[in-house]
Structure formats: structure tokens, C-alpha cells
Symmetry: D2
Subunit: 426 residues, 4 copies
């Protein structure tokens, strides 16, 4: 046997692809260590470890990253109302930075020259993982077999992998493969590829895994209260049993259970991948869907209008793009997130919600911040300011508008009531 | 009797406030014409006309603005995905420009020197109406009694208005006043003030008028198909009876009926008024909630990623603010909306939806635009581009990130796995 | 004499207007304290104090705010490259927050119920001062005589003030009034009003006060080096005499002297005031013009591309608007400025400049940050990445563009070479 | 000789690189047509044609694209105030789309399967050209020799090219090569690479080609007037001889001559290339520097404040990025530029300028648009609106600021005069 090309830390899933990659890397004369991250996915980690070692991994590392996933990635994303293309709550994107960070820590500690993964050459995850690797350890070398011709030419499809597994003694699960791919963590599950590639195909009812169908959800609504401090959830109370939860991970897990029960957080979209390809994905994000609705609502009561507008337009949108595109360990992410705390200083209070058949309904909210003033906002009574002040406000606001209107009239470009506005288009 | 101060066109609602204003303006020696706009609200226009004339209006004008409301305001707002503060679909804001335009057209034709309205001195509508008046006819004079001390000091509350009505022979409806205010048009209804001023009070079940409660909605989902051309809805098909609708107003009306039936489009928020006061509002927007969901979805399939991102960040957000703040007849609205058509050129296709107990579920979408390419996006097959291209893409994308990471490491500001990112804040 | 209406702290300038206001406030039965801020303007503070006390002020307070003006307002604005409407460096806007803060501190300490100022009712400064007062002490009461009818009706012009001064014994300077107004501090001087109100009038040569005319500036260029740490100037070296300056205020003063000598920093613009009125202003900002050019240049070498782009689009533009409009003591300013430090972490190095007849010429720059890599950027040698990587990058970048082009061609909306782009408009 | 691989249209410059590429492509069995675009660069096109044919090109095409360059690219960029990273006027970026469009038109007409160019593998131009090719003709095939290992390994440096030229009979100019690269057109010239790669090296005086050094420019200022219609320059008048120019190209050429004479438009920057590498470049852009200053100034007088602010933040910044990154033939460019006309409708008038030793000084401006109103803006007289209106405006503006300040005080987070703002950073 020729000399080792070096030590590789492989992101291992226990599945067919990464098992074959593990074996192939060994054949290619690498020493392979296997790495798994527990980010809350449903997985038999023990069995995966045994399989990795059986296939030939020299060592196996399992890192429990659930708490840092919740506290360092999920909650700040909630604070910032992150969402991609109006709809997607970024569940896979949020897990990648913690996994990559955990993996680089092990690679560094264990003296690995290479890291490797089983992502395809067309998706977002390869980009997210590799940019994170380089942002943490710029001299790391990455082996991405699905982008190496000698690998992907050898394994043109699932059958080739199965044949390879059989011939090299890799154990293969007997369960039939689903006609789609998934990625799961404690925040969400994604479904894509296979039959979902036709964007007009309705996902089969038995695909959805993390939530009950709204049609099958309880016919009785359920009520909860979520409390926030500085935009972070600090307490969850369930009305039916008056139980309270305060630990960050526990709060999130209970919200997930509630969302699952009431059919909350399913979406089905066509999104734009970072590489510019459109892709159809379905997602279930039960707990975060509830949490985001509550947070957005509380901001109405507690966040200054102008801060909210600037945050929405810049921080939320830019951070969501940064997360989606895998630019977490970058100077722009550092820049953008540095503004989160100042945007959330006043977001303190509690929101009352009703969960019912897929819907999250706000039933009320309260706060001691004092930015809302019943008397001031009341239409029925004076208070806070003089009505005549508003006359002055409107007069001043109209100065430049009148000038523009006068110019329009002078030019004949506007009559009294121009019909040509904003409608007769396209 | 002294000489008339001039002719006033009063925005008349038929209610107590504007009837008293009508009478008061006459007492103040104005000649008053009454104006009503039909923007789809539920109203007895005939009775209102009779009342106006009885109270003393010299003339009464009713303008049917429903079609221009749908075609010139509502549909372009849908094209642009307009939404205020993440939640509010701008139903009142959208009606104001057509009403103001209709009113100025009458004022101009009928030789009115003044326009008047019954808006309070604390809300958005006074601003929206008056800025629209000035943007159309900069020399118009506005009488806003609720901001004139001699008026509001005389009528400090509802009882004073009732007394005045009684003493001056203004007919008063015997129905008990609701403990909230509403504004209704064919797009939505709003509820605010009164008992809703406590943001923690859950709206009573009997408040909601335009939609069935989700709990009372049918237990069977209903399916529809909406077709768009250039981002505008051009056809609605209901699955159960295979009926199709293509007229702009009819499509909208049928969507409203479907939304009403299935409990779609209720929201309850605390929003920020233009004058800087926070205010609690509840809204029902059944049809537009369905339509917006469909439009957003179709954009996933048919709109270029970069156009969508720029449109979301600039056009959608800015136009929503412009509409909310009553800046419709302004140069910035003209500027911003001029970009809508170029953003919607490819938004052609159809969306299949399921309506169920308050939820709008996307079940599939199709288009002939061809921006989505199954083979290219497929994780399972090669096609469209070489996997090795992605390696180059990632290498180039990582150039500046590696430089930054190297600098971090040199400075000791980043270790292998900085824990200090993005979480341990506040 | 009737009872005092309370104690007023008046922003006093020593000039005719505020002296008359001082006297008038006393006549109106207020107890008046006079306040002056030293923000670097050329002024005989001693004479002003004597005059204030002679006119009737009970006390006089002079606050030296020069250092906090430089360190807390000017330098952060330089860090953020603040500029209003592409041209104006915000000299007056930057001084207002420190003056207002100094004034409120005195008002609070001395038990004043009111603050007062001599700003006109049409400008920005009234807004900047008053919003700052309210942002620091929301219950303070403001007396703005130029917006009080009983005052401005009594003093319709300069002659009325002169008559009042004569009749009440207010000393009046014998110097002839200039046909324009000025506001001066150590950052800049502004000129507006009077003959400048015609935007086509070229300012007379003898108006400019802080800088030599470029035509009269030295015929020999002068060279300097400015060093920055975290985007803040920390050292200035003048080449001719090899002198170095490191104190924040001294660096700024020396830059001002250099700019003055070489005719740097004059502008003449029509700007948009916060109240929506267009206004013509001329400004001299010698030192900051040099400093900003150097800072912008150093960012080219040391700031990440994406951070720079986001900072330019959001932070720079928004903060400039916030400063101009007097929104300094607001939550949005707190939010926006919280992101400055993360944007400037790498802005370390030095810039070499040449000053010559109004021009600031960059002659070179250096830094130890290491984000610039000669080998990597070299067109003449390989290094940093493989040329083939760029092929992959371009292929991936072209995916969505090709799809769009194919759709265009299919629709006949684009031929091989559409001439209809981007030119034949309007 | 084996069968031809197909017909290539080569972007030919007449220089060593593209002559060697031409020869090499023929050796590689392609049929080669040579293409040159006249975009105003100083060039002996006749000699280039002869050389191309001598080296072996089957055909030679010269396209005069000067007018469309000025009218379709340069003037719209001036209308939009385009600038990259605060400093660079995008001269090379603007030429690429017209050259690519001209080239694809010829390729299409002449039945070429391939296009080829001599851009290096590290710069922006390869990206700009190729994305433009794909945006116009998505099935075109591109040959980029400097990214093909077999080519660049064979020609590792200039000497290898010279040897190849000698051995294959390619004529070589006897002029000594400059220690930098240039790109020239009628808008600008760029200098990069070679000795300029050290960002601290001051460019030698004899490098600059399009402008006189400010030190050598006339000691007498010169005055001109530029007239704009809808933001486009329509007339240039030179004061000294009262000559007028109205043809688009002639106006630009005369401005170039004036800028050259007075030393206007030199810059020296470190910029961020699209591929993420920092790069040092020097540029001369004489005419456009004058034109942009005039256009920006006129907008002060004639453009609404809010349109200007939105245009600056979105249109100007986004279009500048789009141009720099070579995204001209894309949907996002189409989207963004569709908003230019509505932003420039009122930009009509004339600007008077003084040119002196590198400086462009605004001396006045006028317009019939009427958005500027002397009386309204006058500090010295009433008019336009009541001073008391401003009181109302300030009161309304302060509502949310007071609420925030009250909350701060209640929490002890702000005292009367918080020193902790905006200064004590980093």
C-alpha cells in the first residue's frame, strides 16, 4: 500500500452516500475519521458509529451541538425575523455554521489536513459548508467527491453505490428509499428532489413527518403565552396545564411539539439557490413558525417604528441572504449581526397565542416598555398632543408635494385627477 | 345671513359625525355639497343621500370607484406584494387615493373652493386624504373640523354630537354604537379604537364581519386555481364546480367570498401610524390574502432571483410605506411604481391552492416561462452545468473570505472555532 | 411685577436676534439664563457674556464642547463616511447634538423649566435642537420666539429689532451686517440666505472665510500622511517639516489649517431641508474634506468588499439622513451607529496625500491588514487561485442569466443584439 | 490538416497577446475572424486589420460603436449618477456591453460558433464579456485562452509570447512595453498591474495620458454652461468663445478636451473586483467628471428630495454594482434601469461651472421647474407656510422620540445627557 495522502475528517451521516465516500477515500489512500453532529435530527447515532468504524473509519466523533444551535443560531435569527424570499425560515442554513464549526474544531484538534462531505454539486449545502470551513480555517483542504469526475463518473446513480456497497461489505439498510431527499434538525425538516422536482406535484400526504396535517389536527384550539426579553424567548406557558418552560432548548422543544400537534409550519416553495438554479422545496418548521409570529407581533408593541423599518429593510433581508448563501463566517455577517442587540433592547413583553389547525392567531400582547400609549393613540379623546399640531405637520409634509403638483399642472402633465397613475401598466 | 364663505365638498359617510359636520359647516356659512365614494363598502347609499340633503347639503354626489379601486390600486399592490410592517395589507391606505381623486374631480367640476372630511386629528386618514388633495390640486383648501378648536371644543364626545343632532333635526340611527370604529371597502374592513385600545384585549368573536371564524369554517378544504399574466390575476377557477372568472372585479369578489367562507385573512396587530403613535388594529382581508399568497408563490417559479431580491428590498418596502403614509400622489410614488412592470414581465403562470380553516395552502404551480429547469436543479442527475464548475465558483467566492480569516487568525481575533459569534450578545 | 413664568435657558449667540429674545423673554416675565457653547467658532465669549448679563440674563454659562464635538460626533461621522445628498458634510448637523446635550445638562442642573433658541421657523436647526431636547429630556418645554405670532409679528424685520435694541438699551455692534447668514464651528462654516437665495448668483469672493481661494493657494503642492486605527485618525504627519500630531483635536485643527491654506473644501449646493423646502447653501469644510478622502481611500485597501457595500448603502446613507434631520437622540440613531465598530475593525493603515489648489490627491496607502494581496491580484502571474476556477465561477454566474436569455429569445423579446436597452428612453 | 473545430470570432486588439491567441487558435484548428470595436480609443485600426489578416484571420470586422456608447451607456449612467465604491466612474464597465453586443451581432451574422478574447483569468473583464455574451446569446461558446491550462502553461510570461511571435512571424511593435496595462475608450483610460500593484507606489508623472497634470494646467480658470433635459446633457456652451455644442457625442468630446486641459478627472484607488480580489487602479475620466458634477448639482435644484434619496440608495448604488460586475444583459439591470426616466422627468435646467487645476467648481444653476421657491426658503421673510405649522410638525415628529426618551429615563438607561452615545466605541 502506498503512502497515506493524509487524514480526512468526513461529515458522516450513516447513509449510503457517505458510507461509500468513506470507503472510497480509504481506497484513495486517505486515513479517514468520521464526524457526526447532533443538531436534533432523529438518528441512531450508536448504529452510525458502528457502521462508520465497520466501513473503515479510524475514529468516530459525535458532537452534541443542540444547545449552541438553539442559542447561537436559531434565537438570533428569530430576533432578526430572518426569512428567505418571504417564505423560507432557513432551517438548513442555520444548522450549517454550527456543524462546520464543530467539525473544524475536531479537524484542528485531531490534526486532519482535509475535510470531506457528501453534498451534491448542485445544491446550497456544499457552498455553505465549504465557505464556513474557509472562514474558520482558510488553509483547510476540502474533498467534495460529488464534484470530482473520477468519483461521480464511477457512481452515476444509486444502483452503482449499492453495487459498490455490496462488493465492499458496506451494510445497507433494507428500508426502501423515499422518492425525495430530506435534511432534518431540531428546527425543521426539508424535502426536495425526486418526485418533488415537478413543481406542480402536490406533496403526498405521507411525506410530511414533523407535523400533523391541519385536517387531522385537534378540533379544539390551544392557547399559549410566550415571554420575550430583548427579543429572545425566555418563558413559554401553556394555558391548558399552566406549565411554564424557561430553558432555551426546552422552550423550543415544547413549541415544536405544539406546532406538530396543531399542524403548524408546512410550506411548499420554489426558491432560488445561491448558484442561481431554481429549486422546489417543502419544509416543516413547527416551533419557529409560532415563535416568529409571536416575535413579530411583540415588535409592533415594543419596537420603535423607524428602528423596525430600518431593521426590516437592511438587517432582516441582508442577514437572511447571508445565512442562505452560507456567508456566516464572513465580515459582512459580523457587521450585520453587530446591530441586532441595539434593535432589540426594547423588545420585552409577552404575547398570547391561539394554535388551531395550521394557524397561529395572536390574541393579545402586553409589555412594560411604555412605547404604546392608549390615551395618545385614542381616537376618542384628546391627549398626548394637540390636534392643531397635526395640521402643522400636514402643512409641512405637503410643501414639497404641492410644489411638485404645481409643476405638473403648469406642464399639463397632471390634470385635476390623472387617471394614468399606477394602473395602466404592462 | 352673512355672505357665504364659499363652497365646500364634504366627504360624507351618512353617519353621526359627518352629518353634524355638514350641519356645522352650514352654520359657519359655507355652502356644502356632499360626496360619497362607492369603494365596495356595505352601505345604503340612497338613505345617505336623502339624509345629506335633509341635513342641508345643496347637492349630493355618489361616485362608483370600485373598478378603478381594483384595477388601479389593489392589483398593482398585489403585483408589488405590498405589506406594511410585515403584516398589514394596506386596505384603508389603498382606498384613499381613489376616493381623494374622485372627490377632487367633483370639487373641480363643481367649483368648490374647499374640501372637508370627518377624520380625527390623530389618525392616518386625515394625512392620506389631505396629502392626496394637495398632490392633485395644490391650491385646494381643506377644512378638518376635528382639528379646529372651535369645533372639537364644542363637541368633546359622542353625547355632544347626539345633542346637537337632536337640536338641529339630524336623524340619528337607533342602532347601538359598537365599541370600536370600522372602515370598510371591497378589499378589507378595519377595526380600531374603543375596547380595542387595550392591546391585550382579544377581539370579541362577534366583531369580525367579513369572515367566518376558522373554527366555524367548513371541515372540507376547497381547491382553486389562479392564473396570472405579468403579475396580474387574469383568471380564477374553482375546482368544485369548474367555474371560471376573468373580469378583474369579479375575480376579486369571488376570492372575497371564498376567503370569507374559509375564515381567511384575519389579523390583529399593533402598528405604527405615520404621526408616530402606536395603534392597535384588527383587519379582515379575505380575497387579497389568498391572492397575495398565490402571487408570492408564482414569483418563486417565474421571477429571477436578483430581480426578486431587489424588488423585495426596495420596491415592496418603499411602496408599502408610501401607501401607508398617504404619499400616493407624489414624485416618489411615481418613481417607485415605474419599476413595477419590468419586475413582472415574466410572472406568468398558474397556482393551485387549497383553502382550509383560515389557511391558504399552495399545492402546486406551473408556468411556460422556463426559468425553472428540472434537469438543472435535479440533485440526482448531471445537466445544465458541470459539478467542477461549482468548485471554481466556491474557490472564487472564498477568496475574500479566506483573506479575512487569515487576518483574523494573525490577530488572534479568531481561533479555529470562535464561540463569540452571533449569539452571546445583549 | 407679576409672578415669574419660570426659568428659561436661552441659547445665546451674542448677536442682535438672541439679545432681543433675551430681553423679550424678561419682558414676558421669564427668568433668563444665557447659554453659550464653544464648538470652535470664532467668537469673543467674554464680550458675549458681558452683553448677556447687561441685557438682563441672571446667569451665563459657557461650555467648552470642542473635544466631545471632535471625538464623539465628527470622528464617528468620518468613520461612517457621512455625507448628505452626495455633497454636504453635515457640519451644522454634527454640532447640534453636542450643543443640545450641553444645554440640557445645564438646564437640568440649574432647574430650568424651559429652553429657548433664536432659530427661524423655516430652517433645519429648530428641528435639530428641539428633537434633541425632547430626546434627552422629554418633559422640557421649548420657547421658539420666531414661531410665536406675538413675537414675529412685533419684529417683522431687522429694523424692528434694531429699534427695539435701541429703545431697551441693548448694545448693537457697529459692523455692517453681511448679506447672508453664517453658522461656524471648528468643522465648517455655512453661508445661506440673503443674496445667496438666488441659486444662480455666484458667491462673492470675499464671502469665503475659512479657506483661501484655490487661485490664491500656494503654487507648490504639500504632502501629508494620515494614519488610522479602526477608521479613526490617530496620527497626522506633515512632510515638509516632518511634524507629527496625535491628539484628536490637534490633528483636526492642523488639517483645518492645511485645508485653509490650500483652498480645500468649498462647496455650493441646493439642498433639501427636512421640512421639504429647497435651500441654497455654501460651505467650507477644509479639514474634514481631507480626512474623508483619506478614510474612503484607506477603506479600499482594508475593508472587505461586502461590508463596504452594505455600509455604504445602509449605514452611511441612513446615518447621514438621521444627522441632517436632527434625529440624533433617537432609537434609530442608536441602532444604526451600533454597527459602526464592526465595520471599521480592519480599517488600519496610512494614506499619503498631496494638497494642491483645492484638490486632495491620493498618492499611496499602506496597511498591515493583509486583505490586499499583490500576487493574487496580479494580472501578470498565477497565484492565489487557478484560472480554471474563474471559468467555473462564470459558468455558475451565468446559469440564471442564460435561462433569462433563452426565455427572451423564445418570446422574441430579445434578438441577438437588442438595441432597445437602457438608452432609448424618456 | 484535420477538420476545423469551428469558426471563432476573436476580440482582437492588435497587440501581442491577441495576435498570439489568433495564431494559436488557428494552430488549434479553428477558423478565426477578428473583431475590433471603435469605442473611441486611440488606435491605428488600419494597421490592426492588416496585422490580423497577416497573422491568419480569415476576415476582419471593425464596428464603430462610439455613438451608441455615448447615448446608450454613458449618458444613462450620468443620469443615474453611477459610481463604484464612492470613487470609480466605471469607464471600462460601460464599454463592455456595447462591445459584447457588437461582437455577438457579428458572430451571429457570420455564423460563428465561438467567441474568444484575451482577458486574463483574474480580472473583471472576462466576467463582463462572457456574462454579456451569455445574456445575449445563451448558446454561444466562449474560448478564454488565459484560463485554458494548455495555453497558459505554454505562455507563462511575456517572453514566451515574444518567442512565439518571432517563431510564427507575428509582427511585434518595437516600442518598449510600459510597466502597467491600460484600457482606453472615449470615456476614460485605466492603468493597472505592473508597478502599480504596490498600492503605495505613486504613479509616475508620465503615466497619465488623457489629462494635463493640475500643476501644469492653465493658471486662468475657464467657465462653461451645461444644459440638461430629463437629466441628459443637451447643450454645452463655452464662455470664452461663446461656442455651443448640442450633438451628444460632440458635447462629450468637447468636455473631454476641457477636462484634459484643466487636469480634471484623475483618480487612484484600491477597488474590489467582482471575483473578490482587491486591485489597484488609476483612471482618467475628464469629461464625465465634469458632467457628473453638473448633473448632481442640477438635481439639487430640480429633483424632489424623496425621489433623490430613493434613487441614491437603490438605483445609483445597485446599477453601479450591476455595471461593475458585468451584469448588464440581465433581468435586474432591466428592472433597475426601468426606473431612470421617472427619476429624471424634472431634471431640466442649466449649470454654470468653473474649471481650474483639477477642480470643477459650481458657480450657479437655474431651471424653470419651479421646485425651488426663494420666498418659501427665505429665512428673512414669511411666506409659503406659517411658522406655527413648523411647531406642529416638530411636536408630531417628537411623539415617538419622547416616548423612547421616557422609557430610557424610567430604566435609568439614559440620564439627562448620556455621554455614552456614538463616541466611546471600538
Amino acid at each position: 500500500m502506498s503512502q497515506s495522502k493524509g487524514r480526512v475528517l468526513l461529515a458522516y451521516s450513516g447513509g449510503l452516500d457517505t458510507s461509500c465516500i468513506l470507503k472510497w477515500l480509504i481506497e484513495e489512500n486517505y486515513e479517514v475519521y468520521a464526524f457526526m453532529a447532533d443538531v436534533g435530527q432523529e438518528e441512531d447515532f450508536k448504529a452510525a458509529e458502528e457502521k462508520a468504524l465497520k466501513v473503515g473509519a479510524k475514529k468516530f466523533f459525535l458532537e452534541d451541538l443542540r444547545r449552541e444551535f438553539v442559542e447561537e443560531l436559531i434565537y438570533p435569527a428569530i430576533q432578526a425575523n430572518c426569512i428567505y424570499e418571504n417564505v423560507y425560515l432557513l432551517g438548513t442554513s442555520l444548522a450549517r455554521p454550527v456543524i462546520a464549526r464543530g467539525m473544524i474544531a475536531v479537524a484542528d484538534r485531531e490534526g486532519c489536513d482535509f475535510v470531506s462531505h457528501g453534498c451534491t454539486g448542485k445544491g446550497n449545502d456544499q457552498v455553505r459548508f465549504e465557505l464556513a470551513f474557509y472562514g474558520l480555517k482558510p488553509d483547510i483542504k476540502v474533498i467534495a467527491p460529488w464534484r470530482i469526475p473520477v468519483f461521480y463518473d464511477r457512481f452515476p446513480g444509486r444502483q452503482a453505490l449499492l453495487d459498490y456497497a455490496e462488493s465492499t461489505g458496506i451494510p445497507v439498510a433494507q428500508t426502501k428509499s423515499k422518492p425525495w431527499s430530506t435534511d432534518e434538525n431540531l428546527y425543521h425538516i426539508s424535502y426536495e428532489a425526486g418526485i418533488l422536482e415537478d413543481p406542480n406535484t402536490t406533496p403526498p400526504a405521507d411525506m410530511w413527518k414533523l407535523t400533523t396535517a391541519p385536517e387531522d389536527a385537534p378540533t379544539e384550539p390551544e392557547r399559549i403565552v410566550i415571554e420575550f426579553k430583548a427579543g429572545l424567548p425566555t418563558k413559554l406557558t401553556t394555558a391548558i396545564d399552566s406549565k411554564s418552560y424557561t430553558d432555551a432548548v426546552e422552550v423550543f422543544n415544547v413549541l415544536n411539539a405544539l406546532g406538530r400537534k396543531h399542524g403548524i409550519g408546512r410550506i411548499d416553495i420554489v426558491e432560488n439557490r445561491f448558484i442561481g438554479v431554481k429549486s422546489r422545496g417543502c419544509y416543516e418548521t413547527p416551533g419557529a413558525t409560532i415563535l416568529r409570529a409571536a416575535h413579530v407581533d411583540l415588535e409592533g408593541l415594543t419596537l420603535d417604528r423607524n428602528v423596525r423599518a430600518l431593521r426590516d429593510q437592511f438587517l432582516t433581508i441582508e442577514l437572511s441572504k447571508i445565512l442562505y448563501n452560507g456567508h456566516f463566517f464572513t465580515p459582512e455577517r459580523e457587521f450585520i449581526t453587530s446591530a441586532i442587540p441595539a434593535s432589540q433592547r426594547t423588545v420585552n413583553g409577552q404575547v398570547r397565542l391561539k394554535l388551531y389547525k395550521g394557524g397561529v392567531v395572536i390574541e393579545g400582547r402586553s409589555s412594560d416598555e411604555g412605547l404604546y400609549d392608549e390615551q395618545e393613540s385614542s381616537m376618542d379623546e384628546l391627549g398626548g398632543f394637540e390636534p392643531t399640531d397635526t395640521s402643522g405637520f400636514i402643512q409641512i409634509e405637503s410643501i414639497r408635494i404641492k410644489k411638485w403638483a404645481q409643476a405638473n399642472i403648469r406642464k399639463g402633465q397632471a390634470g385635476v385627477a390623472p387617471k394614468d397613475v399606477y394602473g395602466s401598466r404592462v
